[in-house]
Symmetry: D2
Subunit: 323 residues, 4 copies
């Protein structure tokens, strides 16, 4: 476990609950963070080089800040370790291409952690599209809204809404469409917080993707949703529609003179995607152990990043961008 921050802890605690797999070593630039997590899960705190040198380590989870991914990926690949890497792989498409090169050269399994593909709802929906339940996909709508914006300091270095937030939806779009977009058009506004606009970003954005078959995908993002984390997809095909709705906090409904009121959606992303975090780690471990294909892979990481880059360009130029 490289990186013992919030997402590193999530993965470590998830793995602790699995049979037949152990987190043997953890590393973090803050030694106390590494030690604290090591104590909690019964692992050993080491420095990253020692982790990569350890013969007891078959695979690494890279959960460090994005700007450290590049070097760790290269080192881990050269050490022959299977790699589970948090998204984004890197902020630069060119550097991701470098990572692809080393991964291909060394032949190590590499998984880009687009966790939403492993959400049981979205995973089931996509499997049913592939199984032909609604025929050829014609129109995809993806709506993602966070309960509230992150700190401005985060936005200033995140690469903006397309790279830190909508990147999940770009991956989801590719996952659901089953083909590559050929054009993207983006609009956006800073409506939630003027400081976001002052930081050069938008907090409300809408994107239209088109594919060579003529399928269309609309994505909307907002940094605000007072009723909780809002994550929905809807896919229309020739034979019908499949959609996956929100996960509510509970099933309780209150009826009064004002009508029927159900619970808000789950607010916290770790709770909303708890099952997805477990499933993606299980998928990675099973694939590495069984020698089967890991997905989404490093190419998927690049493809989503390229869409985010193109969306940012479209927002800036005011024109559609060909892909």
């Amino acid at each position: 476990m490289l990186g013992c921050g919030r997402i590193g802890q999530v993965h470590a605690l998830t793995i602790r609950r699995l049979d037949d797999v152990r987190v043997t070593a953890v590393a973090d630039v803050f030694p106390e963070a590494a030690q604290s997590l090591a104590d909690r899960i019964g692992a050993q705190a080491m420095d990253p080089d020692a982790v990569l040198a350890s013969a007891k380590v078959d695979a690494v989870v890279i959960a460090t800040p994005t700007d450290t991914h590049y070097d760790l990926i290269h080192a881990a690949a050269r050490a022959g370790k299977a790699i589970f890497c948090e998204k984004p792989v890197d902020m630069s498409a060119d550097r991701i291409r470098d990572c692809i090169a080393v991964v291909e050269e060394t032949g190590v399994p590499f998984m880009t952690a687009f966790n939403r593909r492993f959400d049981p709802n979205f995973a089931s929906l996509q499997a049913r599209i592939r199984a032909g339940e609604i025929g050829q996909v014609e129109l995809v709508t993806i709506m993602s809204r966070d309960p509230s914006p992150p700190p401005i300091s985060y936005i200033q270095r995140s690469g903006g809404i397309f790279r830190d937030m909508m990147i999940h939806d770009f991956d989801m779009a590719r996952f659901l469409l089953g083909e590559e977009p050929v054009q993207i058009f983006a609009v956006g506004s800073a409506l939630v917080d003027p400081e976001i606009g002052a930081a050069g970003d938008v907090d409300t954005a809408a994107v239209t993707l088109t594919t060579s078959s003529g399928a269309i995908c609309q994505i909307t993002n907002s940094r605000r949703a007072v009723y909780g984390y809002d994550q929905r997809v809807e896919v229309h095909g020739a034979g019908g529609m499949l959609r996956a709705g929100n996960v509510l906090e509970n099933t309780v409904e209150l009826a009064t003179g004002a009508g029927f009121r159900s619970a808000p959606t789950r607010h916290f992303f770790l709770e909303r995607y708890e099952a997805a975090y477990r499933a993606e780690v299980v998928h990675f471990i099973e694939a590495v152990a069984g020698g089967t294909t890991v997905s989404p892979d490093v190419q998927d990481g690049l493809a989503a990043q390229l869409l985010a880059d193109a969306a940012a360009e479209s927002l800036t130029t005011g024109k559609p961008v060909a892909l």
Copy 2:
């Protein structure tokens, strides 16, 4: 149209909108009420005897107070008019039996206006049971709640909750079960308004019916539902469940930090059952015009009344009553 009160007006205005049928004459003990409705729909105000004597009248709608039904049914049947009679046919089962006798003797079509059978939701549900979608019926749950209690003066002469309110549910139970109950058990309390208790009635009641095949039906009634008119049925069979939910005022949903809020149910029974009132009148007219069977008929009126009587007996004695 015999009786120009609220329900008489509903039927008259419904018929006015139909092609190929007209309300030619209206009567009411208050001549102004008759004249007012006559003016509104282009009919002639007459006294009831004249209506029944008119050769232009093929059928009568009896929408007068319950204690006048008996005489009007006898007179209309002897005049050879088809009869559409508001429920209850009469407060006394013996007097309903007299009505059955005259209807059978004269052979006139007779419809007891249990409008809920004609609600598109309940009608569709029942048709799907009969079509075998859930197999043999095992368990029926019927919930009916009025938005607020009627005046005490009404309760004092209505025969009580089983005869003025749950009678609809008894008919619905027979409609859905497809067989006759053989036992009934009732409990009830005056929780909504102590004056209802002082008047010798209850305002919250629960009944259990059992049939000879072993099917069970639970019915609950309350004189209060702050969220609007509440009318639901749920039917379990060997192969699954069919249920029909409430009709909301509109489809608008509001999401805030408190959750998702949809509209209350339709509050007013005339609005809630608008389609049912139309469909029951159309059924009657088509059956009379086409010489086909009218349903629910006068026997159904008696059967529901006998269940109401037995429920009242069970409440009084505290014991189940065999039917």
Copy 3:
């Protein structure tokens, strides 16, 4: 009633059910159509000139083919009649401007029949936005899908999907946004039927509108929805979200091993918008009778047409169009 086709009949039968207003005269290029409707509602069949010359006529409903609107509007306005005109007012924005001129010059009330504004669900939703329930509008999503495409012959002369179908959504967008779009971008494909593509139109389309305040509106249209007429809007504001869902055929739900199945949406637009057709006619009549403002008016008819024209231009050029 000028025009006795399908929509003319809808309006005529609606008016017949109202108190205090009558369709006195009907006209159609097919005299038998006019006579048939006249007989059904108790009106007189005339030629259009006679209708406009009649002193008994206060207002006209123009429900004739679009290419006849221009002349009828001019004639009716000069005859001092209030005008209820089916959409689109005209296929040409310039000709609509001529109509605006004659309406303003003569001062006659003029209503453009965008019926969806009068749907109880959408009307309630919009009123609640205006009442401030969700604060400032940030993002609007409108989805409209017809059960199946119209005949190719219709598409060939309708002006295309933006002018014959999405025009309703353009009006809805303006209604919900409460401000004018300043930019539009459109994409579209012929996925439902290649003949539609051969006719130079698309059958699946997505549009993005932006306003000067930064609000965004996404609209999708498809000529196909196997589950019935699909008409939804969703509006996000700073304080929450309001949405209006589909109207199902009934409330019955079936539970089996495959899950829970509810009814499809209402398939037929006349049934889906029955309440809206009534409410828009009532609004027009009350406004004309009471001397109050008619809305949507002729300017609204022009505004929607200009959006449709710009969408078509964007689809052709592949670029966003400034408005």
Copy 4:
């Protein structure tokens, strides 16, 4: 951990995931079962006497067959261990009274594992009743249906549907009503499987409870629900209604010409009540560690058993039973 069968494993794996608490010792009449679980969670397999004698054991989970509870409760209480006991405490009310005596005499904390009180949905609903959201409770409806019946061998020794299945609902009724029932009436039929009838039991049952305040509770049970585990409660009060619906397998919905289809409910009780199993164990551990009150306690175990006994009597005699 006394008992290493299915439910014992559930509790052991749940505890393994908690911080600050450990399963130190496990026991089972089948040594291999104990050893297997011990290996899986890092505990020691012992015989029950050794467990109770161990100074390292603060509390025991009794998850053995019902007929062994009595002796283990006595031994554990005398050994001063806090007790978490699976329901039912015992099949005989008199023997439960003996258990109460020893628990009171020794003063050990004792929790009866009615897990459904800890389901987040039902727990939230009950807390909101107690918080006064719907005022005084008037009517409670509880529906519980298992996906399919247990083996006949289980039914033959379970004490019947009221004692092995509806006992959960009796506890839920008391939990929601907030007062004790004073009368019970039960009906039932063997409709699912005639062998169940031949074994002297019913598989479809309905019960009506009444309280001294006049509140009414209706419970239905069935051994069959093809659409999955069906567990719903609905509570009406003077000020409105609170209900908790089913937990579906996922949020995916399919729309086709047949309508809208959502997933079935979760089929397996361990999955349906996963969160409840965790919450009840956490409650017990926190109460024992913190010296706070454990609930539901041994008296709650008795109260539910007495209701089950009375329901069985009512079914046999055909009469309501006073409590």
